[in-house]
Amino acid sequence: MSGPVRFPRSRRTVASVVAAVMVLVIAVTAGSLATLLALRRPWPASWVESAVSSLRSTQWDAPALLGIGITVGAIGLVMTAISLLPASRHLVELAAPDPHTAAALPARSLRRTLSSAATRIDGISRAQARIRRRSVRLEMTTGLRHVGGLQTAAESAVRHRLDALQPRRPRVVTSQLSRRES
């Protein structure tokens, strides 16, 4: 194995399931209608009859067809982009303890542990951490009137927790403290 191991990128499962279901629905509908036509059976529902008659009357320059073309093209563009662009890793990667071990944690877990570190500071009644690519934003509330040093203490606790986790990409900790009357 060359280089340190890393978590594989996402499998693009959601997009693939959506695409597969879309193909399935269209193929089942088309197959059923083709079979009915081949067997000279009547249409199973009135909407099929109205769809076929509107196909017979619609011209290629109809404004509705432009909308359909744009929609189909946009879906195709999104799918092509998902296929070509690198998939996300979903996890916050941590520094590898050795070249053959990859470590990571979900963003939700990082949010939870950092919020918890902040709320352990006396005076912080509520804290919520937002994880960004290169920073952690803390939004905290306190019921205290005098908040001197409280924000710094909370930031320091969060920074300490973050250092213990050793994220692969360092993040700057910023915070906002608001006062709520209890």
């Binding site: 194995m1 693009r12 693939s16 197959g31 017979r56 929609t71 093209g73 944690l105 352990r120």
Partner: protein, 212 residues
Amino acid sequence: MHGRTARGNRVGLGVLGGLLLLVGAAVITVNRGGFGTVAADTRLYPPVVDQWMSGNRWVFWPLAVLALLLVLVALRWLLVQMRTDRLGRLVMDSDRLDGDASADSSFTTGPTDRTAEAGRTSLSAGALTSAVVAEIKAITGVRQAAAALSGADDAPELWLRVTVEENADTGAIRAALVDPVLADVRQALEKPDLAVFLTLIVGKARTRRQVA
């Protein structure tokens, strides 16, 4: 753990996306008169095609077969999303295993888990992962652990999912995982370069119920 599925998804999305992009572009081009005003004035389903289709109903059978093929492709695409490369057993060189102190390791003990034939030993992946999980759960601050082996027989990967307490010392837990747990596994399997994927989950704080 999922290389083939990831590649398949990427190719599937690329092919379908490219196809839809082409269809969308073609519809817009005809609609805006890109192929001449005659094409734009034509009906989507001209009467001449309608008449021909009515007299040649057999043409719908190949279309139905094509649709059936598409249904099968779509179903397979959905089913492969559940595919994993999990290993049930690990094949090892028994000569090396028997002649080494690692044979005494807690990760390879248990005669029912090993079947040796002609110099090769097959080790149950379940036995190994259970032992790993037990070792991990013994670390202070660990609430839950799960382990799975995947990949190829000659290049297995160990996937670990460790749930820790909300305020656990993650640095100490990681250090304890690397040595002795992972070091022991690698030594027991005679694979010093065994790839390990460790996912740490931070558990929710436990709330204590007050008894009245």
